[in-house]
């Protein structure tokens, strides 16, 4: 009992000092149980490979140059799509948030098209644009656009009226209010929209790559299914999870930290 307590206190102290350790420990347990199940040979190896097989497959795909190429293709598609979706979504959201007339005219249209999910567009896109970059870009931009627009509208509307009034009584013009009050006030929500948009966009991209498939992580996984390579499918799944952690930790969290948290708009 005391040993357990001591272990726990050690764990607690370490993880407060290095949060990264806290994040890694559940994964270590997960990988260990995976390895145990695989090694126990309950299932055939080709059907249920272990962690080491996946690492080996990773090495070989990197060596052949396939994985870096596919990874780059997927990430570039996501980045371009997300950038375009954000560049369209933020101005549209600001406009809808500030103009009641635009809001009442366009909001129902927006909800209608939001309901037609990204993948539901694929059949017609494949006929119009064929199996290519245009189709995939459309799907990602479409997927990123809605969360960004909806959250931006929410953000604009959540700016307290007293802040508008304060700016007006300090002599700010409409244009200055947009830049000095509306945009920073909506920013925490815009970042939330970006976070959701990137998350949905990432999933839509993988789906699009599976269907449209010429390259990318989604294509890698679906191609591996054709070849019956479970190990490559698992590798693809792990890469999806890891890549998202990187996007979250290196892109989204720093943006959130620099905006809402500092200003006390988001309490943690």
């Amino acid at each position: 009992m005391t040993t357990l307590l001591r272990l726990w206190s050690f764990y607690a102290r370490r993880t407060t000092r290095w949060p990264g350790v806290a994040a890694a420990i559940p994964f270590i347990a997960l990988i260990a149980s995976w390895a145990i199940v695989a090694e126990s040979a309950i299932f055939p190896r080709a059907f249920f490979p272990g962690p080491l097989d996946v690492v080996r497959s990773f090495g070989s795909l990197v060596y052949k140059g396939i994985l870096p190429d596919y990874l780059e293709d997927s990430v570039v598609r996501l980045a371009v799509g997300a950038a375009a979706g954000t560049a369209l979504g933020i101005p549209l959201g600001l406009w809808l948030g500030m103009s009641p007339r635009a809001y009442s005219a366009l909001w129902p249209v927006l909800l209608f098209f939001q309901a037609i999910g990204d993948i539901a567009w694929l059949p017609i896109l494949l006929i119009w644009f064929g199996f290519g970059l245009a189709t995939m870009t459309f799907v990602i931009v479409y997927t990123v656009l809605f969360p960004v627009v909806l959250n931006t509208v929410l953000g604009v509307r959540s700016v307290p009226i007293d802040l508008h009034r304060a700016a007006l009584s300090l002599g700010a013009s409409r244009a200055r209010i947009l830049w000095e009050v509306v945009v920073p006030g909506a920013l925490p929500n815009i970042v939330t929209g970006l976070r959701n948009g990137l998350g949905y966009g990432w999933r839509a991209l993988i789906a699009a790559e599976i269907i449209v498939g010429t390259s990318g992580i989604g294509f890698l996984m679906f191609d591996a299914r054709r070849a019956g390579s479970v190990v490559e499918i698992l590798l693809g799944m792990i890469i999806l999870g890891l890549l998202w952690s990187v996007v979250d930790g290196w892109v989204l969290v720093p943006i959130e930290r620099a905006t809402g948290q500092r200003w006390g708009l988001i309490t943690q």
Binding site: A166, A167, W263
Partner: protein, 252 residues
């Protein structure tokens, strides 16, 4: 003519819940001289905040005139500085940037507007808080920033809407004393909205009592300055005034 002149001001609006027109302000006329400190006092729903919002230009009047220094008011403008009950500081700007906002909108350069902002921060006793963000400050400190920000724009009149209602009682007394000090030093024209009778008297040269959207009474406050709570709370003249105004507010 310098100062504020309000003639036959009324405000009627449609209340969708009651399904009827409601008159918040009814035929109010008053004038405030340049450099005068006037308190508007009354219970919730007496129309005092509506009057202030019309003077600030945030809501249009249904009828009547508001004239400041000879100009008829339509819409908000930097000639009227507003201090809000909610503070209304920009959370994404530092204290210095908040106070420098008005001068920035006037087109003052960075050095110039920061010099102005520091001057008013010092006046409000906030010299050390310049680089903090509003959410890092106490409520009392935040409202000092609110006052400094409004004053830094050098408005013709300062409109204060229950500015000290959301800070604790001790801090409120300190802020009231600081406000009288600032007023004596700079002599801005001030309209101060409150439901607190003692606060209204403590600060003002003249107290206007409102009831049900109407102007009920005007009471002059001939108390000497500087005013501090420790002596004034015992002062016979203050007590008499306080009882008189309280009676007016409660009978209205």
């Amino acid at each position: 003519m310098k100062g504020l002149l309000i003639r036959n001001l009324s405000k009627t609006y449609f209340d969708p819940y009651a399904g009827a027109h409601v008159t918040a302000v009814r035929d109010v006329s008053l004038s405030v001289n340049e450099g005068e400190f006037v308190s508007l006092v009354g219970p919730s729903g007496c129309g005092k905040t509506t009057i202030l919002n019309m003077i600030a230009g945030f809501v249009p009047a249904s009828s009547g005139d508001i004239v400041l220094d000879g100009r008829r008011i339509s819409g908000p403008g930097p000639d009227r500085g507003v201090v809000f009950q909610s503070f209304a500081l920009f959370p994404w700007k530092t204290v210095l940037e908040n106070v420098a906002f008005g001068p920035k909108m006037r087109g003052a350069g960075k050095t110039e507007r920061e010099r102005i902002a520091r001057e008013y921060l010092a006046l409000a006793g906030l010299g050390n808080a310049a680089d903090r963000y509003p959410n890092e400050l106490s409520g009392g400190m935040q409202q000092r920033v609110g006052v400094a920000r409004a004053l830094a724009n050098e408005p013709d009149i300062l409109l204060m809407d229950e500015p000290f209602a959301s800070v604790d009682a001790q801090t409120r007394m300190t802020l009231q004393e600081e406000l009288t000090r600032i007023w004596q030093a700079r002599r801005p024209t001030v309209i101060f909205i409150t439901h607190d009778v003692n606060e209204a008297i403590f600060l003002a040269e003249r107290v206007i009592v409102l009831s049900k959207g109407r102007l009920l009474a005007e009471v002059d406050v001939p108390l000497p300055r500087p005013r501090v709570w420790d002596t004034l709370i015992e002062d016979a003249a203050f007590k008499t005034l306080s009882a008189r105004v309280l009676h007016l507010v409660r009978s209205g």
